[in-house]
Amino acid sequence: MKFKRFAAVVATVATSALVLTGCAGGAKDVVAGSSITVGWNQGFYSANGATSNGNATANNNILYLANSGFNHYNDKQELVKDTQFGSYQLVSKDPLTVKYTVNSGVTWSDGAAVDAADMLLAWAANSCNFNNVSPEYDADGNVSNQAALDAGVFFDSVNCGSDTSLVTKTPEISDGGRSITLVYDKPVVDWELDFAIGVSAAVTVQHAFPNDKLDAAAAKAKLIKAIQEKDNATLAPIAKFWSTGYDFENMPTDKTLVTSNGAYVISDLVKDQYVTLTARKEYAWGPSPKIEKITVRTIPDPLTAVQALQNGEVAAISPQATADILTALNAIASKGIKTLSTSDATYEHIDLVMNNGGPFDPKTYGGDADKAKAVRQAFLKTIPRSEIVDKLIKPINPNAAVDNSQTILPGAPGYDAMAKANGSDAYASVDIAGAKALLATAGVSSVKVKFLFGCANTRRQNEYALIQASAAQAGFDVVNSCSDTWGSDLGSGVYDASVFGWQSTSTAVSASKATFASDGGNNFTGYANATVDADYNALSTEFDSAKQLALLTDVEKQLWSDAYGVTVFQFPGVTAYDGKKISGIVPAPLAPMFFWNFWDWKQEGAIVKG
């Protein structure tokens, strides 16, 4: 039968990719021919996630699959060291000196070794210490001083101003070119979260000087020499390529741009459609993945993602969590779809402003700080935290609980101890009688509280309504001061209380300093407490994690007893996967979210082999 023969030919061609990959082996546990597709809400657009343009979850998730690092976060927000890739050790606390070593045998996908040159480039770029010119922009966001910029050095890093900037001395290379030693100008307690290798130094230099036709070794040597001699003329094109050369939305014809040093390498990329990564055969410096090809499809709309999951087009998704999405996911539970309700790393909190002449400001009471504090305590006692969680969050995340810490996310190491010790139990439940008594003692009646939140945010509208009703019972008149520009209103003093979420991207112990220290950049409330400031100062030179926790606990005790404000809940998250197709999906609150344990992912069901 002719038709059958043609059909067979078509079939062969259609699955030719599989046939080819099936013949090739993979890293030791990789199942030949296995492939899985997962969904994410934004497309990949830059292979350098450390630039200010490229720093987005959509890129960093993919780069996490492609690149190894010295450490990563697990689902319990613990920082896990990747010792098979490399190691780092605290050489000295004063001056803070850290030595990073990449293990021998760790290679880029183009065959070059991962070594000190790559780390040196990461330092030079992310410290921003070589930048001697900064771009000026016209109205369209285009650089208007391109000529000057081309002549000078400008690494457009998202990490400018972060801890790596404090390493001003050029790091020394040791261990036969596999180690560098960073010496910080002043102590940095969160140094461990700060340093990562991004793109390949050799590839960057080769592209910066395309006419020189350098091999990997020569390119690295050129980079090291330029950095050590602070040779700006050589660094200028390197910085330029580092900043923009890795931005692409479709598979580049020049495959060196996707050079990676981890378990996978990008093998196909179609703008706003999908990115496919293929397991590297030589990868042996970390847990071996089991799946040969991982495709991440771009699906911006949450309900579309759910239907794609139901239709088998993707095997795992993490859409924006709403009650509707959870309903849709639960409706298909019988088809083998597993839904995991989780908490994200953003937490909702209510702050009281203490420097605006409002009801919570001592100035209102002639400088009587105790009176202002009593009013604050009374107001916080009326906030129905459990009711907010029960009514607004539990429908989306049945496991949700009230958040009881201002500095540590629930579930993170140290949270339980913190919640017990910090005095948050004073506001565990609504206490109208207690609030009335406090107001009576303070001699204050009919307090008007201007309450700020984003008008467009329905959830916060509902929170306001619940708080308003509860506080009214104690004599508070909570006024709706919602604003579409609430973000820029923060710290302006036009409101007395506010509700919004802080996004955490790490477990940095010093991150909360900006919020609670009297001179902190995120201190929108005018809160000033000498003990808190002293604790943060002590914390900035304290490297022992137990002592760090003790200091943070002390900070929180001050915050809760000063009636600074209350935390309410973590934003709900949801991850769903098709149990018939994939196993091993474990959501995590911090980046790279559910990608964190990709090596545990396993394809379920039949795998067509070539």
């Binding site: 002719k2 038709f3 043609f6 059909a7 067979a8 030919v9 078509v10 079939a11 061609v13 259609a14 699955t15 990719a17 599989l18 021919g33 492939s35 657009y45 200010s52 343009n53 987005a56 000026e136 922009y137 109205a139 369209d140 966001g141 285009n142 998202v158 400018c160 101003g161 972060s162 931005d247 939305e249 179609v270 706003d272 459609q273 999908y274 496919t276 090809k293 495709t295 499809r297 771009t298 699906i299 911006p300 709309d301 579309t304 993602a305 239907q307 794609a308 239709n311 087009e313 467009a456 579409d484 520009t485 973000g487 820029s488 802080w502 955490s504 991207t505 991150a511 900006a514 995120n522």
Partner: protein, 509 residues
């Protein structure tokens, strides 16, 4: 004429200027582009905020920033248009180019189909005015017109993609459908054909029998698992399409036209197997060339068989040749279905709910064509329903109006048959008012379909607009607006010019 053009273009430029200014202000004041950074706890938050203020020029108030943006746009006259960059530092011009490509791919087919089917349905309802068929179509088109597209899209995905994929796992038409579908087909065909009781009875029994038989055959041969037409069904289809084409084009009484059309079907059948041999080597361009060649061959067949009436016969033969070619191509696509269906990338669920293609799928032109089809089918249907309803109503009303005019009575009075009256005299004139509608719709194509694109995960112009608006990212929003605004203005002008061309009673100046 020139005067008119210059005046219109000048006015359009002013309209665009005012519109872009308002749009710029509305977008810029619609929210806070720094909102996500303000709630960040990153340790270098100040630097991040400063960087965004720098790249977006947020320190210049929007009412002045517009003119800086306009400066970039006006560079179009020196050939270096500059629409700026988006919040991620990507160039807006290239974003627009790729979004436009996706949108054209998605919307063009839907618009063409909506026009074609809408006009056909509108005309058939006008010819059967106040029949049950007419009332049913009127009801249906108002229903379609009022359906919210996001809802239709989600339902289509639920039932036509997910539901139909489930059906394909064990493809056998359920009993209730075997009973209901023939009845539906009777209602439709009797409505369209009309006539006296006897004729209605004949039409009813034929359509009932044919539908029932084909469903049973589909079930018995397990057709859905490996669909194909084969030369016999294909040939029958070709003959009926050839006869239908002849009927509409010249009337069946024209024997030369009928024979020429049938000859092209015969040629198609002769080439059926040879085509299978070369089909694996074909690419998109070659298939397009082949389609053109088919038309040319058909035209010449008609030309040589046409006798003294070459033009209409050649036209008829060409159309039926292309239709026959279409049947052969559809059959070839159907043969690619089974390997596609069984491929690891599809794993038995061919109809897609998201995206424009299956990631990583490799294959022949035919397999990839099937993949395109399974991805574009649902969004096309969702988009079509709405446009279809409009075209049905407009073409019905327009044809009814023309049919009541004096020149139609004159045409009938001089003894022309009904086909010639309708097709040659009424239909052409009825289409004139529709040109305006078509022009507007084509301008709308570029704007994309905001909701449909989002629901089906296509990243075209519509999603570019929505995503950028959500981030208060002014430059891409304005890029979108410039493109859609300009095309709207241009097509408006084109509509006026075409109108005057088609209807000699109208002068543009």
């Amino acid at each position: 004429m020139l005067n008119f053009l210059i005046r219109r273009l000048g006015a359009s430029a002013l309209v665009l200027f005012a519109a872009t200014y308002f749009m710029y202000l509305l977008t810029a004041y619609s929210g806070d582009p720094l909102e996500d950074l303000r709630t960040s706890t990153a340790r270098n938050k100040a630097e991040l905020i400063q960087h965004r203020i720098d790249i977006m020029q947020l320190n210049v108030p929007p009412y002045l920033r517009y003119f800086l943006w306009l400066g970039g746009v006006l560079k179009v006259f020196i050939g270096q248009i500059d629409l700026g960059k988006n919040i991620n530092g990507q160039d807006v011009v290239s974003l627009l180019a790729s979004a436009m490509g996706t949108t054209l791919q998605l919307v063009t087919m839907a618009t063409l189909l909506a026009i074609l089917l809408g006009v056909i349905t509108g005309i058939s309802t006008a010819l059967r005015q106040y029949s049950a068929f007419d009332y049913t179509v009127t009801f249906a088109s108002f229903l379609f017109f009022s359906l919210p597209v996001f809802w239709v899209a989600v339902l289509l995905k639920q039932y036509l993609a997910i539901g139909f994929n489930d059906f394909l796992a064990a493809p056998s038409i359920p009993l209730w459908l075997i009973i209901v579908l023939p009845i539906v087909s009777v209602v439709i065909w009797v409505g369209i054909v009309g006539g006296d009781k006897r004729r209605k009875l004949i039409v009813a029994s034929i359509s009932f029998g044919a539908t029932l038989a084909s469903m049973l055959i589909l079930n018995l041969t397990n057709w859905f698992a490996s669909p194909s037409l084969g030369p016999i069904v294909g040939g029958l289809l070709g003959v009926s399409l050839a006869l239908f084409t002849t009927m509409v084009s010249t009337g069946l009484a024209n024997k030369r036209a009928r024979n020429a059309a049938l000859v092209t079907v015969g040629i198609g059948l002769v080439l059926w197997y040879p085509f299978q041999l070369i089909s694996m080597q074909l690419t998109g361009i070659l298939v397009a060339l082949l389609a053109v060649l088919t038309g040319v061959v058909g035209y010449f067949v008609g030309w040589f068989m046409g006798g003294e009436d070459k033009g209409p016969v050649a036209r008829t033969a060409m159309i039926s040749a292309i239709l026959m070619g279409g049947i052969i191509a559809v059959d070839r696509f159907m043969q690619a279905w089974k390997p596609y269906f069984e491929s690891n990338y599809i794993s038995g669920r061919p109809f897609a709910t998201v995206g424009a293609s299956t990631p990583n799928l490799l294959g022949s032109f035919w397999v990839l064509g099937v993949d395109q089809f399974t991805h574009i089918l649902l969004p096309t249907m969702a988009l079509m329903l709405i446009g279809f309803a409009g075209y049905t109503r407009y073409s019905r009303a327009s044809l009814l109006e023309v049919m009541n005019q004096d020149f139609i009575r004159t045409a009938r009075a001089k003894g022309l048959n009904e086909r010639t009256v309708v097709m040659r005299h009424a239909f052409r004139n009825a289409m004139i008012p529709l040109t305006t509608l078509v022009a507007f719709d084509f301008a709308g194509i570029i704007g994309g379909a905001v909701i449909t694109e989002r629901v089906f995960g296509w990243s075209g112009m519509g999603s570019l607009f929505v995503t950028s608006l959500a981030h208060v990212d002014v430059n891409p929003v304005m890029g979108f607006f410039i493109v859609t605004g300009t095309t709207a203005v241009i097509f408006n002008l084109v509509a006026d010019l075409v109108y005057s061309l088609l209807d000699p009673r109208i002068r543009v100046s």
